[in-house]
Symmetry: C2
Subunit: 269 residues, 2 copies
């Protein structure tokens, strides 16, 4: 199998995301290797040797997606036997030409604690945890968004993703059977209706997820799931609450859709 290396003087997250997006267009399997924090000539030399030995033992040139601030390190990797692509070089040339400003490369430009919004993100994670699953209904004043849905409709992972990635404070509230029987939004949510975003899910998928948690329970039965989903969707419609069916979407997709359908202020790019 062909090996792909993602190499950087930082976390190598950008190298990975970019390299992965490129390779995912090809119907080929790869052996992925991420090597972060390559900050010295010594380490870069070792990586070059690793690329060369991989090329030799497999008989195929590894694909190498890399970025370094220090050109000395770039040159070492470029002199290896891999197919090496300094993936920010081309785009930075385009931007430089347009802005007529020279780049000022800095190590750890992205994904570091020095980003202005880092503390927002950690605060948002703490907020999401403290306000998960209706655990605390007294702090909705501070919420940027309140995700509402039946148990196991994807609220918690979405809250955490919004917090970690975007610094958005997301509380989440599970609509219980008691809530649904009343056919109205719980009192604790009424003052914050403008912040509510609904999540719903196909009853079949919901039942399968609940089965894993509580096999053969009433809670997991398809009948119960159908009732709860129908009732929660009716409630969303009655209250003109925007909602989204999470069944076919990842947390990344759900989060991107929520942000694009609301006017949530993202605290990170």
């Amino acid at each position: 199998m062909r090996t792909a290396f993602y190499i950087s003087d930082g976390t190598a997250i950008t190298s990975e995301v970019f390299g992965h997006a490129t390779l995912s267009m090809f119907p080929v399997d790869f052996n992925h290797k991420t090597i972060p924090f390559v900050e010295t000539v010594d380490k870069a030399q070792k990586i070059k040797e690793l690329i060369n030995s991989t090329a030799k033992s497999s008989g195929e040139k590894p694909l190498v997606f890399f970025t370094f601030v220090n050109p000395v390190l770039s040159d070492i990797i470029l002199s290896s036997d891999g197919v090496c692509y300094d993936f920010l070089s081309y785009s930075s040339e385009i931007v430089k030409r347009e802005l007529k400003v020279a780049p000022v490369p800095k190590v750890h430009r992205t994904h570091s604690i020095h980003e202005a919004t880092y503390d927002f993100r950690i605060d948002a994670v703490n907020y999401a945890l403290a306000n998960d699953d209706g655990a605390n209904v007294k702090d909705y004043e501070k919420a940027d968004i309140i995700l509402v849905g039946v148990s196991r409709s994807g609220k918690t992972p979405t809250s955490l993703y919004l917090a970690l990635q975007y610094g958005i404070k997301a509380a989440n509230y599970p609509m219980t059977e008691d809530d649904l029987e009343k056919g109205a939004l719980p009192k604790c949510l009424l003052p914050f209706k403008h912040k509510i975003f609904g999540l719903t899910i196909d009853p079949e998928r919901l039942s399968a997820i609940r089965q894993e948690r509580m096999a053969n329970s009433r809670y997991a039965s398809i009948r119960q799931c159908r009732i709860e989903v129908r009732e929660v969707e009716m409630l969303f419609k009655k209250n003109k609450i925007a909602y989204l069916n999470s069944t076919k979407f990842s947390v990344e997709e759900i989060s991107a859709k929520i942000i694009s359908e609301t006017d949530l202020e993202r605290r990170k790019y």
Copy 2:
């Protein structure tokens, strides 16, 4: 201020990560706009008009980082007044030349629920939540890693990041004063010593974080923080537990360092 657009037929996460990494090299402020799920000609036309009106009103060409599977959509964006860069085109050419295989573009190739490892990630998030902060010490058998450190040393956000991004099941255990006084690892951790990774933090930073939580408490005092940090580091050394000082690092950096220092198996690229 110059506007930068990140546009895609999917979440636009890759566009954002790539565009942001490029622009972060320039000492210039940008007005960032992410536009995900541009899947129709109609929507692409509207985005083109937005790019054009932005160019007109600001007098500066917006920078546009984009990727589409459908070339019809690409052509619409390329015909706008922005400086447009189809950022995967160049790298996919390089890979195509080397592999001698044509790309098979698919919508939602990355960041979708169809990735083979998606369920691992959601399971890992549920695991991290159930095993956060020593809440449950009976399920360490299933942990990929157990983060150990004093209260507020960065364990929880790191556990969640490892879960969400990499599908790694991370439990975390807070070393309390009682634990530290005994000068030994708690019994519940002993069978899993090989899975423990320590987090430590500068006492000054720890005290500042704890002050926010419990101002003027003994818990937040610099004296108490110094004692706890010294004792936990001694414990790590005595037990030959690898550890890392989290003070100057983001969760992304801490996670990347932990993965590169252990043999943790990542379930996502």
